[in-house]
């Protein structure tokens, strides 16, 4: 199972990086989003994919799942969500102000 997950993480990373290397802003944002999902899956895989009950009171189980990676994951998802939203708003503003969403045409240091 870990092997399968690792391959999946690799695929997600590849897609994410491919998208980030394209020129359109929207694709770049989608790329970061997919990369983020890859990272999240990596965290959960690294915690060990074992069967076990939830670590809650009142549940009698022989093994418990490790809850720390899940807590990390939740935090990472929230932060990812916030930054993606911010980036979306910002690139929309940039599109309106600069009149293009092509990073190639955005180049330059002059303040027009």
């Amino acid at each position: 199972m870990e092997t399968l997950m690792s391959i999946l993480v690799g695929i997600l990373f590849a897609i994410g990086i491919y998208l980030i290397l394209t020129k359109t802003l929207l694709r770049i944002i989608l790329g970061t989003s997919i990369l983020g999902h890859g990272v999240n899956l990596l965290i959960i895989t690294m915690g060990g994919l074992k069967k076990g009950g939830p670590p809650l009171l009142g549940i009698e189980d022989l093994t418990y799942a490790d809850s720390l990676p899940q807590a990390l994951l939740l935090t990472a998802i929230v932060i990812n969500f916030a930054t993606t939203a911010l980036l979306l708003v910002l690139s929309y503003r940039a599109y309106k102000v600069l009149g293009t969403d092509d990073t190639e045409q955005m180049r330059g240091t002059e303040n027009e």
Binding site: L42, I43, T45, G47, L90, R93, A94, L98
Partner: protein, 495 residues
């Protein structure tokens, strides 16, 4: 348990949230922000005295013992940096009052500033590597908004680059944390230190260490600084100054912390790499600073030189080198804020950042001119100003560790830094006054924070003996991770 430890983090966040609730009252925002920064400064001072007396102070949040809960650890190293942060932040705030503009103030400038400070202080104080990530993000998200606040074309373009680079480095950070967790099963710094020391730092662990180095280098601008000059010259002066003073320093702090507390077993690999990167950073930064004829560009490249120099001291992993790093870190925070504010004031007065377009400023603004002169000398480490001592110690540290080339690069680049800053001084302040209108624009209120910082750089240089005791304590804590671990776990033995 010492609840004082958490106060520097929660005071700014409470202040920021109250400001968001009372959005329209800008005057109230100003008072509250200044008051809370001063309060944090006082608490940190008390904390420093306490650390001096009783050793490293810790707090386990919610009473959950380490390594299960989140620990906050205030050692001398962190506390000194927090105190410097407060002073610098206060000066940038005072400068912002006069210069930031109504529109940005209405759009949550002060709350965002407070959240930025929260993130910075949190990063200095956290005892848990995942919490470090969270504090980094608090700081970065505020900086994302601050850098794009106002929304001019140039700002938007630069902020998109800045955000993208930082998002990707945050992902790399998470990847590194995931690997580290898989290998050690813990994320608490003290616990990590114990486990890595027990299991030995094998090849795989060193790879993870280098992954962390890459992440922090991206944030600190160590070698991977390609994003830095553009992003730091886009926002208005007060924001650029606080970025230059604090954001890269947090990355530097993280490198020093991680590579003295956790991954200190293979210095032939990791610390040599830090040294090489620091060397390249200094050379490339100095070349950039010498080559440009634009004030903003020159001073942003000087930030990069500073990063390289501090980490040259850290790379040596000797007491001398680390002492130098800490002195220079404190000096660098103060003087980078000063030089950015001075540069911003010059641009504000002349309306251009191109050096060839103005001269003779010292006639109209003698105070500004002399402060610039002092800042320039201090920046390049000329006695009796604050940069000198750091330079001496770092150079001695690198020689002691056998990185003689690194020390020489450091000294050569200081000359280039001096040249680059003097270029501004000679071209901009000396010479005949070429401005046509010849009217004197007001510098009222702008000079106060500049004066405070200038005084500080002089005092830090002349009165270095006064803080020597505290710096020594901090460096001792860095050299012997034992104190830190003992403070977190108490007398319990943990494996």
């Amino acid at each position: 348990m010492n609840n004082f430890v958490i106060l520097p983090i929660i005071i700014p966040i409470i202040a920021g949230m109250v400001m968001v609730i009372f959005r329209k009252r800008i005057i109230f925002h100003r008072y509250l922000s200044v008051c809370s920064i001063i309060a944090v400064g006082i608490v940190t001072l008390l904390l420093i005295l306490q650390i001096d007396q009783e050793g490293v102070q810790t707090l386990q949040l919610g009473g959950w013992e380490a390594p299960f809960g989140v620990s906050m650890v205030a050692d001398m190293f962190a506390a000194l940096l927090i105190l410097t942060t407060c002073v610098v932040a206060l000066c940038c705030l005072l400068y912002a009052f006069r210069s930031i503009g109504q529109e940005r103030e209405n759009f949550y400038f002060y709350p965002l500033f407070m959240f930025l400070i929260t993130g910075v202080i949190g990063s200095f104080m956290t005892g848990d590597i995942f919490n470090l990530f969270v504090c980094f993000e608090v700081m970065l998200v505020s900086s994302y908004v601050l850098i794009s606040l106002g929304g001019t074309g140039n700002q938007l373009r630069e902020s998109i680059k800045y955000i993208l680079v930082n998002i990707i480095s945050s992902f790399l950070f998470l990847v590194a944390i995931a690997f580290l967790y898989a290998m050690t099963g813990t994320l608490n710094f003290a616990h990590l230190s114990i486990r890595v020391a027990e299991a030995g730092q094998d090849g795989l662990m060193t790879v993870v260490a280098i992954l962390f180095l890459i992440v922090f280098s991206l944030k600190a601008g160590l070698f991977l600084f390609f994003w830095l000059p553009g992003s730091y010259s886009a926002p208005p002066t007060a924001i650029a100054a606080i970025f230059a003073a604090l954001l890269t320093k947090v990355g530097i702090y993280a490198i020093i912390r991680v590579f003295t507390l956790v991954f200190y077993h293979e210095p032939e690999v990791t610390h040599l790499l830090i040294g090489i990167l620091a060397g390249f950073t200094m050379i490339l930064g100095a070349v950039g600073a010498v080559a440009y004829w634009d004030i903003k560009k020159i001073i942003t490249y000087n930030v990069i030189v500073g990063v390289g120099f501090i980490l040259a001291g850290a790379a040596s992993l000797t007491a001398e080198g680390l002492t130098g790093s800490l002195y220079y870190l404190i000096h660098d925070m103060v003087v980078k804020a000063l030089i950015f504010l001075l540069g911003g004031t010059v641009i504000h007065l002349t309306g251009t950042s191109r050096l060839k377009d103005f001269s003779g400023l010292i006639r109209l603004y003698p105070g500004l001119g002399w402060m610039f002169f002092i800042a320039a000398l201090s920046l390049s480490g000329i006695p009796p100003f604050s940069g000198f001592l750091g330079k001496i110690f770092i150079t001695r540290g690198t020689f002691e560790a056998g990185f003689i080339w690194l020390g020489i690069i450091g000294l050569l680049t200081s000359l280039m830094v001096l040249y680059s800053i003097m270029k501004i001084f000679i071209n901009g302040f000396w010479g005949t006054d070429t401005s046509e209108e010849n009217e004197k624009r007001t510098t009222k209120g702008l000079l106060l924070p500049l004066g405070i910082l200038t005084m500080l750089t002089i005092t830090l240089g002349l009165g270095a003996e006064g803080i020597h005791h505290y710096v020594d304590l901090a460096v001792e804590g860095l050299i012997n991770p034992g104190n830190y671990i003992e403070a977190v776990f108490g007398t319990r033995s943990v494996h």
